[in-house]
Structures are given as structure tokens and as C-alpha cells.
């Protein structure tokens, strides 16, 4: 019975959340009386706010992507849960109003969630019409009590704190006062919030300088939601020190996050803003940026003030993905003793020796990586396989595009090494009965290519996954392209990438990943048969069921246009942006 009571409470809370997400259709009038930070202790680390939930939910609810989610059997199962529907009916009867109306009224001032490491707890705050919130609260308490009464139990504890009526069911504690409903699992943290609601606490998060600065910035934007994080609290909590240790053990993580971490140590806050429109979903996280705070061992990440930042995206047909970044790989490799722990450095020393041998005695860090400019690009496109053997599993082409500091010296070096590598692959492959690569030297539109191609498979043999590749190296001007296929190397050569992008005078892109939905859908579509079979085996389903599942995902992707993650900076601002753009409906 106890289990049933907890399930009921859980369903009640889920019910509230679901209705937040689905049922609310009215645009709420935003309450602007008390800032949520005035209710929170100064030690609060993270606050997330949805300023106008009703509007946000209406946008999401009307979006074609969500319409597709609604068709999913899993969604239908949750939304048509008999207990949830029973609770909804009960509450609507008790309130004498519909869910939509109750929720619009109860959250017109926003919904907030927060976490405080000092109290090891968090809370959810709803802000809106006090009468509605109290009525909903009382109805839920009454519902739980009436269900439990059938077994002669009362799982609801109640009491009065600072003149405020509070309840506890299981681990959930909640109270409503002055238009705020506080829900928490941490009693002490709950008391801290109620103290401020009752006006008995003298300080709050709203008094902190970091929050004031963040709020000033936040108030300028008209976002649908925001996130505030107090980085000083993170620093004091030892989180940055732990992150540093993690980066010291992982070369890729250092390459991706090292410089950003250096900056975060010197910034007082992080402020995120969420923008939800029918055309896009965008999250921006801003912090302060100070070029002088970049340590020497992380100059490879941001470069100097004169450097240009990441190169501009290439304009390639059927582009699945692009990564454009500024990273001085030579510096990164040579600074390894300062950046990484002993274990990683041992691995680097071993790799250095092997790679130096591979490159004919050249020092891999000093002579090879340092010969590349820091503007690096990785691109990926779908493949057509026109006239070529078509493998069962089709992998998009990918290529690395870089600029050589000294093409005259490096081009012959890279040519020789590439040919040696192909020879090595052929010998190793022959020992294993694998297909062999043929080598051709070509000139296409002023670019010099060393292109390879697998010899055709024997008739009746399956076309192996290797046939996705025709490794090619291309040179034009001071550019070098290491490509998985000849076609992509040619496409990059024809696109004539500009020297280095100057994104704008004010902002420099440091790193960006762009994913294009339609080519991704095409790449997945070309492997549809594989996905169907894999789904049949994963779920034991019939082909028809598997086809429906795979096609639903493909249709979902077809609604999107592109997704990107971008890290850029200006003189005193560092910004990380996530944006999902949808096609025009």
C-alpha cells in the first residue's frame, strides 16, 4: 500500500510536469514582483528559470517535431496512463477548472529549479496566482490522503513553519506562500527558502555581485529561459581542480575544453539564455573573457590577439558535418609535459618515436604538426558511389583541411609519407586477404592529387566496408587535404577555401561543429536496410514494425535544417552557442 501511495504522489508530480509540457495553451501574464534569487541562499550554485512556461509550452506543443513525438507509442502509453487520467479528472473536479487554466494561473510568474552544494539539495519553485497554487496543492494532498485512507493510512505529514503551512509526502516537502510553491527533497534548503519568503533572512543570492552582473545582462534579453551558475562556488567547491585533473589524463578533452576551463577560473558567473521559436531552439552560455588571463600553456587554444580564429566553413555539396577550429597542434604537442600527467606523456613519447620513424626521421611535433597553421577544418559529405562498387554499409566521406606554413618543404615530405602509408596498408591487407589499393597521380583544377582506389571485388563477393574509402591527399596553394575519398578531396579543392576566416571584427570563432540535417538524413537513408535489420534483431520485431520505427526517426530528422555548436569570443565575452534550426514549415 505504501508503494501505491508513493506511486500516486509520483504520478501527481509527473502529472503537473506533463501538463506543463503538454496541456497549457494560454499565454500567461508574467509576474515581475519578486526575483527568484531573493528567495535563495547566497550559496546557491545553479538556477534555471523558465520565465513564461505557458508560452514556451504552446510553442513546443504546436511544433511539427513534437507532433511526431506524440505519435510514438511510448508517449501515448505515458499520456494515456489510467492513473494519470484519473488524477487529472479528480483535480479538475476539485478545482472546478481545467488543467490548462490552473497551470497557466499557477505558473504565470515562472518555473524555477535550483541546486545548492552547501545544502546538498535543490528545489523547484512555481510562481503564480496564490489561490490557484494553494488549491492545487490542497487537492493533491486530499487525493493522496483519500487513496491512502482506503488502507487506513495517512502518508501526509503537515506542520506550520514561520506561519506557513507545509506538507511532506515521502521525501517530497512542499509549501505555498505569497504566490510561490516551493517543492524540495531537502528540509534545510526548504527552510532557507521559506525564511526568505517570510522575510526573516537578511541576505540572499540577489545580493551577490555575480548575480547582480548576470541579472543586468539577463534583463536586456527577452529569452524564454535562463540559467545562472556561480563559478566562484564551483571554484571553492574544488570542481575546477577536478576538471583540470581530468584534462591532464585526456588529450582530446584538453584539446576541446582546456582553454575554456582556464577562462572559467577567472569569470564570476555563467549566464545561459534559452530561446525557443518555431524556427529554432537556441541556448547561449556567456561568461566574461580576458585575454590576459590565458596561461602560456593554453595559448595554443586561443592564439594571440592578432590571430584570426577558426576558418570559415567550406561550401561543399551534400555536407554532413563541418568542424572549424583554431588549435595550434604543434604547440599542443610540444607543451604536452606541461599539460598532461606522466601516464599520458609516456604514451606521447612512444607515439612520438613511432610517428617520427613513419615520417622518415622528422620530429612529429616540431617538423610535422608545427608545419600546419592553427586553422584546421574537418568536413564530411555523403557519397554517391557512381560507377563504383557500393558497400552494404555506407559511410560518409571525411577530410581534414589544413594550411601549410612552408609548402615547398612539406609537400614532398607528405607525398612520400602518404605513398609509404598506402604501401603499408596494402601489405598488411594482403596478409589478411583484404582488397588492395591502386594509386593514381592526378591534376584536377590546379590541385595535385595522389588518389587511391580499391580494386573491384570478385563477382558474388560482398562489397566490403573498405569500399567506402579511396584515401587521397591533395595539394593546392598552401593547402593540404587528407581525405577518405578522392571525390571529397576534389570537392574541397574546387571549393577554394579562403585563407583564414575572420568571422567578424568583434568576434572570433574558436571552435564550431555544424551538422546539416538533410545530408544526415540521406546518409542514414542510404543505410536504411541496415537500421531496419538491426532494429528487428534488437527488438525481435517484425519488418513492418522496424520499418515504421526507422522511418519515424528519418522523418523527424527531415524536419530539422541544421544544428551547430559554436565557441566564440570578443574582447570581454566568451560565448558557447547551441542552436537547432528547423526547416520552414
Amino acid at each position: 500500500m505504501k508503494k501505491l501511495i508513493y506511486s500516486t504522489l509520483f504520478l501527481a508530480l509527473i502529472g503537473i510536469s506533463c501538463c506543463f509540457l503538454v496541456n497549457s495553451n494560454s499565454r500567461a501574464q508574467q509576474a515581475t514582483d519578486t526575483d527568484v534569487a531573493e528567495l535563495l541562499p547566497e550559496s546557491t550554485l545553479l538556477v534555471v528559470g523558465i520565465t513564461d512556461p505557458a508560452n514556451l509550452i504552446e510553442t513546443i506543443d504546436n511544433h511539427p517535431l513534437f507532433q511526431q513525438v506524440k505519435q510514438h507509442p511510448g508517449y501515448q502509453q505515458v499520456i494515456n496512463n489510467p492513473q494519470l487520467l484519473q488524477l487529472e479528472n479528480f483535480i479538475e473536479t476539485q478545482l472546478q477548472m481545467e488543467w490548462e487554466e490552473a497551470l497557466a494561473k499557477g505558473t504565470q510568474g515562472g518555473v524555477y529549479a535550483m541546486f545548492d552544494p552547501q545544502f546538498q539539495g535543490g528545489a523547484v519553485l512555481l510562481h503564480g496566482n496564490n489561490d490557484t497554487l494553494t488549491q492545487v496543492q490542497d487537492t493533491i494532498v486530499g487525493f493522496v490522503r483519500s487513496v491512502a485512507a482506503l488502507a487506513g493510512q495517512d502518508p501526509v505529514k503537515d506542520g506550520v513553519y514561520m506561519g506557513i503551512q507545509a506538507y511532506q509526502i515521502g521525501e517530497a516537502r512542499f509549501a505555498t506562500h505569497k504566490g510561490w510553491t516551493v517543492i524540495t527533497s531537502n528540509a534545510e534548503y526548504g527552510r532557507q527558502i521559506l525564511n526568505r519568503l517570510a522575510g526573516t533572512a537578511t541576505t540572499s543570492l540577489a545580493d551577490s555581485d555575480a548575480y547582480k552582473k548576470a541579472k543586468a545582462t539577463r534583463d536586456k534579453s527577452k529569452s524564454d529561459g535562463w540559467v545562472f551558475a556561480d563559478t566562484a562556488t564551483l571554484q571553492n567547491d574544488g570542481q575546477f581542480a577536478q576538471a583540470e585533473l581530468a584534462l591532464q589524463a585526456n588529450m582530446l578533452a584538453e584539446l576541446l575544453f582546456g582553454g575554456t576551463l582556464s577562462q572559467l577560473k577567472h569569470t564570476p558567473y555563467l549566464l545561459g539564455s534559452l530561446d525557443v521559436e518555431a524556427s529554432h531552439l537556441k541556448l547561449e552560455i556567456n561568461s566574461e573573457f580576458d585575454d590576459k588571463q590565458i596561461p602560456e600553456n593554453r595559448r595554443y587554444y586561443f592564439g594571440s590577439a592578432d590571430d584570426s580564429g577558426a576558418p570559415a566553413s567550406l561550401d561543399l555539396p551534400n555536407q554532413v558535418m563541418a568542424i572549424n577550429t583554431y588549435r595550434d597542434l604543434g604547440q599542443w604537442w610540444l607543451l604536452a609535459p606541461d599539460l598532461f600527467n606522466d601516464e599520458v606523456n609516456e604514451g606521447i613519447a612512444e607515439a612520438d618515436a613511432t610517428l617520427s620513424t613513419f615520417f622518415g626521421g622528422k620530429d612529429f611535433g616540431l617538423d610535422i604538426l608545427a608545419s600546419l597553421e592553427p586553422e584546421i577544418q574537418i568536413v564530411s559529405t555523403t557519397q554517391s558511389f557512381d560507377g563504383n562498387p557500393e558497400p552494404e554499409i555506407k559511410i560518409p566521406s571525411f577530410a581534414l583541411v589544413a594550411t601549410l606554413k612552408d609548402p615547398e618543404t612539406m609537400v614532398p615530405e607528405l607525398k612520400r609519407t602518404f605513398i609509404s602509408a598506402i604501401g603499408f596498408i596494402n601489405i598488411a591487407g594482403a596478409m589478411d586477404g583484404q582488397p588492395q589499393l591502386d594509386i593514381n597521380l592526378e591534376q584536377v583544377d590546379g590541385a595535385n592529387l595522389i588518389a587511391t582506389k580499391y580494386l573491384k571485388p570478385l563477382e558474388g563477393e560482398p562489397v566490403a566496408v573498405q569500399y567506402n574509402f579511396s584515401p587521397t591527399i591533395a595539394f593546392f596553394g598552401d593547402k593540404v587535404v587528407f581525405s577518405s575519398t578522392r571525390d571529397l578531396a576534389v570537392a574541397v579543392s574546387k571549393s577554394k577555401p579562403a585563407a583564414a576566416a575572420k568571422t567578424s571584427n568583434e568576434r572570433k570563432t574558436n571552435f564550431e561543429v555544424l551538422l546539416h540535417a538533410e545530408p544526415i538524413r540521406q546518409a542514414l537513408e542510404s543505410n536504411r536496410e541496415q537500421f531496419i535489420v538491426q532494429t528487428m534483431l534488437d527488438d525481435g520485431s517484425t519488418r513492418e514494425q522496424a520499418e515504421a520505427q526507422v522511418d519515424l526517426i528519418l522523418e523527424g530528422i527531415s524536419l530539422a535544417k541544421q544544428f551547430f555548436v559554436r565557441l566564440d569570443h570578443a574582447e570581454n565575452n566568451l560565448k558557447l552557442t547551441f542552436e537547432l534550426q528547423f526547416k520552414d514549415q
Binding site: 508503494k3 558497400p391 552494404e392 554499409i393 586477404g433 570478385l458 563477393e461 560482398p462 566490403a464 566496408v465 536496410e529 541496415q530 535489420v533 538491426q534 528487428m536 534483431l537 534488437d538 527488438d539 525481435g540 520485431s541 519488418r543
Partner: protein, 454 residues
């Protein structure tokens, strides 16, 4: 009744139902478990309308898979081969066992896979393993001579037995030995000299680019003498001569009886003599002999019913087929691997020993755990829905009704009422939700020692 006194003439005569040996659901379920992987309640009941011999005849000679299903299976195999990972082939084959409408063909393919055991752990090539599987399926109910000729040139088999190169100066004796010992004649029916001479016949047989190739320059053109013959025999002629030995049909008949009828005791020469004769008369076409076995007095007698230990593959496929179940094939494949019955990965060229070797304290627990994992998995469905809805649709609205159905449909030997009642009580007290009660009930039933026998 010991085997010494089984009358072979009685044993292989067609079973005729009588008052003390009626044609009932128990015997029909026995038939489906042995020739395939079990069947759902409706199919079992439909069997009551047929005469035993007619039903067997229909299942042996008339069962087919639809064109669309065969196309799906080909696509599935192709997709698994494309990944290059032979483990995916196991999942695909299990899917076919659970969903095929031609159960005997898959069961017989599984039999030949154990007979001509070839392990992907050594071959390391999904394409070759799949090609061999297709070969076994093609001849599973057909010409054994053609199957042996095919398997002798099968790249996966030759790779597995280190016979990818076979030169006249150093004939590889592995395949020659296994051909006589494991595939056609059995131990004691050849000499070491026979092996050496037979191996010369296979010189020049090679695997290149995943295909069989005859290298005439490496073929030993000299005279070979083995098993009472002498001449410049080719590999094909050598296989034909091995199969012409009188012991060959006896050896194969014994293996078929062990697989389809009973683990113990080992069938004697006298008992299988009529089957061996039939194989010989049919030119080694096995379908008629299998039909004789499956419609015989012995097959439907107490000497056979409940006298075989379910292999792990049979354990799980029977459970699912009986309840129209579906689940993740990767989950099953990995569980079967843990239990030592990973198809495409036999433990040695001898295949799986079967019988009592399937059961020990560790595997008993492993079997129960596998069933538990399948029943707990969110991906497991019965008739495309929950067990609650599935049993309700079958009119089984109480735990007792479900228990009785499970016993009648899935057990080969009776369960005491006290055990039945205790399982119902435990499932009902331990869980409050009906779905959990049903899954617990089935898990407990399938963990019983009695369920391990088929």
C-alpha cells in the same frame, strides 16, 4: 524398458494411436519440440484434427517459408555479413528459428551445424560462415552425399581444419581424419593408413579469396589405397567411396536418432538398421528417414518423450515460440554464449556433446538467469503485447489457468500438483501487479528440473 529389448521392427513402424497411447496435445507438443522449436496453443490444437502420420508428412514435406520471409532473411544475413562480425549471424539465425514457418528445416540445419561443426572464432569471416550456413540449410533435408561433397569444398570448413593449403608434398590430414571419424563413419572404422592415403586425394584443394580453388599442380596424381579401394582417386571420388562404406548410413542414422529421439542410451546397430537401410535405398536422401523417425512408435513412446535434455537454444526458442514471444536477439545470443551454445561458435570440431553435458549446477543457474533476463527485458513481448494482455486474450484470466496451460503446452513430463500450487502461491504473494506475477510464474516453471527435459 531397456534398449536391448527394443524391437527395431516395432520401433520404426508408424505410430498408431490407441486407447492407452492416444493422439493428444502432449504428443503433438512433443512432435513440435523435437522437429522444431515448439509451437503456440492454436497450432497444437489444430494438430488434433490430423492423423499423426499425415501431420508429420505435412511438416516434413510441405512446410515452406513465404517468399517475403526468405527475402527478409537474406537481407538480414547480408546486413550481418556487411558488419563483418560473425556474432551478428547468430542473432539473425536465432530470429529465423523463432519466426520461421518451416521449423524442421531450421532444426535440421542446427543438427548439421553441430555435425559439421565449424567455429567462427577461428574462421573469423562472416561471409564464409554465412555461406556454409546456407549450404547446410540447402541440404538439411536433402541429399547427404551432396552435402558432404559441398562441405568438403567449403571455405569455412577448410579454414577451420587448417586445410586452406594442401600440397602434395605435405598432405594435410585434418580433413581426411574428420571426414571419416566425425562426418561419415565414426571411430574404429578406419586406420591411420587410411587417413594418410585419403589425405592425398584432397591435395591441391585450397582456399583463395574466400573461395574454393583446385590447384592441379599440387594434386597428388599417384595411386591411393584406403578403405579397400585403390586408384588415382580425386577428392570427389574419395568422398563418394567413404560414403559407400556400409557403416556410413548406420553412423548417420544413429546421430539422427540421438538428435531427434533420445539422448540415452546410445542406439545400437540393430536398432538403427532399418533406418540405415532406408538411407541407403534413398541414396542418402535424409528427409524420408527423418519422417520415419518422427512418425514412429519409438518417437511417440515413453522411451522418447521427456528423454532429451533441452539444449539452451531449444530452451529459449521453445519458450518464445510457445507464447508468441519476441525479444532482443542480441540478448538471447549473448545469453546462449554464456551457456556454451553460441551458434556459429561450436566448442570444437566435434560440435556440442549435448545430452547430460548441458546440465550442471552452474548451467542450471545460467538457464534460469537467461529466462529471467528475457522475461524482465522491456523488449520482450508476447503476441506483440504484455503477458497480461496476451493471456487475457487466450481466456486465461487466473494464475491457475496460466499455470495449467504452461504445464500442458511446454512440459514433457508431469508436474506434481503441490509444485504447481506452490508456484502459483509464491507468484501471487511475491508480486502485486499481474504482469509481474505472470512473469514470475513462467520464470519459476521454466527453472524447474522437469522443464529442462523435452
Amino acid at each position: 524398458m531397456s534398449q536391448q529389448i527394443i524391437d527395431a521392427a516395432w520401433a520404426w513402424k508408424p505410430f498408431k494411436p490407441s486407447e492407452d497411447r492416444p493422439w493428444n496435445l502432449g504428443r503433438i507438443a512433443h512432435l513440435y519440440r523435437r522437429l522444431g522449436f515448439g509451437s503456440d496453443w492454436e497450432t497444437l490444437n489444430a494438430g488434433l484434427d490430423s492423423h499423426p502420420a499425415d501431420l508429420v508428412d505435412q511438416l516434413v514435406f510441405e512446410s515452406t517459408e513465404s517468399d517475403s520471409f526468405q527475402i527478409e532473411m537474406k537481407a538480414m544475413s547480408r546486413a550481418m555479413v556487411a558488419t563483418g562480425n560473425p556474432r551478428g549471424l547468430a542473432s539473425a539465425w536465432l530470429y529465423r528459428m523463432i519466426n520461421t514457418t518451416n521449423q524442421l528445416q531450421e532444426k535440421a540445419t542446427l543438427f548439421w551445424h553441430g555435425h559439421f561443426a565449424t567455429g567462427a572464432q577461428k574462421v573469423q569471416d562472416a561471409f564464409m560462415m554465412q555461406q556454409q550456413n546456407e549450404l547446410l540449410r540447402r541440404f538439411a533435408l536433402g541429399d547427404f552425399t551432396a552435402m558432404v561433397q559441398g562441405i568438403s569444398k567449403d571455405p569455412a570448413m577448410l579454414m577451420y581444419l587448417d586445410s586452406a593449403t594442401n600440397r602434395k608434398t605435405h598432405p594435410n590430414e585434418n580433413y581426411a581424419r574428420e571426414l571419416m571419424e566425425l562426418f561419415c563413419l565414426g571411430e574404429g572404422n578406419y586406420t591411420e593408413q587410411d587417413i594418410r592415403e585419403l589425405a592425398k586425394c584432397f591435395t591441391g584443394w585450397e582456399v583463395r579469396n574466400r573461395r574454393f580453388r583446385f590447384n592441379k599442380y599440387q594434386y597428388d596424381t599417384g595411386t591411393k589405397s584406403f578403405l579397400g579401394t585403390s586408384g588415382t582417386l580425386t577428392g570427389e571420388e574419395a568422398v563418394t567411396h567413404v560414403l559407400s562404406q556400409p557403416t556410413a548410413p548406420v553412423f548417420i542414422a544413429k546421430k539422427l536418432v540421438r538428435f531427434f529421439v533420445m539422448d540415452e542410451p546410445q542406439p545400437t546397430d540393430d536398432l538403427v538398421a532399418p533406418l540405415a537401410q532406408q538411407l541407403r535405398d534413398d541414396g542418402f536422401n535424409v528427409a524420408n528417414t527423418i519422417k520415419t523417425i518422427l512418425s514412429s512408435n519409438l518417437f511417440f513412446s515413453d522411451l522418447a518423450m521427456g528423454k532429451k535434455v533441452r539444449s539452451p537454444v531449444e530452451l529459449i526458442t521453445t519458450l518464445l515460440r510457445s507464447l508468441n514471444g519476441s525479444t532482443s536477439m542480441d540478448l538471447i545470443a549473448s545469453g546462449l554464449h554464456d551457456l556454451g551454445h553460441s551458434v556459429f561458435f561450436p566448442p570444437s570440431v566435434k560440435g556440442w556433446d549435448g545430452g547430460r553435458t548441458w546440465i550442471n549446477s552452474s548451467t542450471l543457474l545460467g538457464r534460469a538467469n537467461l529466462v529471467h533476463r528475457v522475461l524482465k527485458s522491456e523488449k520482450t513481448q508476447f503476441g506483440g503485447t504484455t503477458l497480461t494482455e496476451f493471456t487475457n486474450a487466450q481466456g486465461l484470466t487466473t494464475l491457475a489457468a496460466v499455470a495449467d496451460r504452461v504445464i500442458e503446452q511446454m512440459f514433457a513430463i508431469p508436474i506434481g500438483d503441490d509444485i504447481r500450487d506452490e508456484i502459483i502461491r509464491a507468484s501471487s504473494e511475491q508480486f502485486s501487479q499481474r504482469e509481474e506475477q505472470l512473469r514470475s510464474l513462467i520464470h519459476t516453471f521454466t527453472s524447474l528440473p522437469q522443464f529442462q527435459l523435452a
